[in-house]
Symmetry: C2
Subunit: 194 residues, 2 copies
């Protein structure tokens, strides 16, 4: 394997374990074992565990944004139908993994937001990026009258993201899809009436 | 100090540090130093770090429920005014601590929901308890026509809790009170129109 392949393998195995156990509870050795990489070679690829964590956030964001883009670029659907399709897709993913992992970015925010300012800024930036994509959908929906024009698209996008993150948190605690179903009902049926 | 005093001191110092840094990143020695308790005496008070974490959840819940009760038992206000007063109170608390700590129960859920089933169940139970208190307020509000009767009180209480937890998460990442202000606007003004 090339250096790039090995680094990618450490990141993908690390992403899986950290999503499952949390960043603080995951040991470097455990990640190297899972990736089949010799002991002691971690620092050849990453300056520190924190540096690894920062790259992990990029890894998670790539997954999330590719799922978002897949739905948000589907112009055969209305803007709100694209947004609903994205959340339904993630609900299916959560169901398939036993509702146990929550949002990897939310996990990092909760666990590391106070530990390092570098982490916090990176997580905040990732959340802004997700909010921005949702905002584009919501703006378009507002422009074509799919939702009420009195909604401020940026505020609405932020609230959708926040209530989704909170629903994922309770899903993880309860090991149940119910909070995500409730999110859809309250946001789309009750708040937006769309 | 009695054994009970020492244990209480370890819990209160531990609560502060864990709220700040996360459970996984906090060392037992660090807590003992802050509490002024001799090295090695931790296991006299707690069977394990996990056992300490479980008692920490009780400690956090006592704080949250006493704040809830203080507002929810204030019968000079309408039920929704009581609920708003509680959230405003916590917003003031968050502002005074620099918007950096988030919800201690949410933090534990995010960080430890996958690590141990004992933790997960305890966190899930704590969330149910918070939901139940909010539900009592919401039910009363519905009975007196303060909110629309088409709302299912239990679902609404769960959604309020989820979107609040998500707002606290983004508050912590952004070090800004804006998500909590937005929560109030979207939930009370837009969704419930009260």
């Amino acid at each position: 394997m090339t250096k790039e392949d090995t680094k990618a393998k450490i990141l993908s195995e690390g992403a899986r374990i950290v999503h499952d156990k949390g960043f603080g509870s995951t040991g470097i050795q455990e990640i190297l074992n899972a990736a089949g990489v010799p002991k002691g070679s971690f620092y050849f690829y990453f300056k520190s565990k924190e540096d690894f964590g920062l790259e992990l956030i990029d890894f998670y964001m790539e997954f999330i944004l590719s799922r978002m883009d897949g739905h948000f670029n589907n112009l055969t659907l209305t803007p709100m139908a694209r947004l609903k399709a994205f959340f339904s897709d993630i609900m299916g993913f959560c169901t398939s993994t036993g509702c146990k992992d929550g949002c990897p970015i939310g996990n990092m925010a909760q666990e590391l937001g106070c530990v390092s300012d570098g982490f916090r800024r990176k997580v905040a930036h990732s959340m802004e990026t997700m909010k921005f994509r949702i905002c584009q959908c919501v703006s378009e929906a507002r422009n074509i009258g799919e939702i009420d024009e009195s909604f401020d698209p940026e505020k609405l996008a932020a609230f959708i993201l926040d209530s989704w993150e909170g629903a994922l948190l309770r899903m993880k605690a309860n090991r149940s899809i119910e909070p995500l179903v409730l999110f859809q009902e309250m946001v789309f049926d009750r708040l937006l009436r769309c």
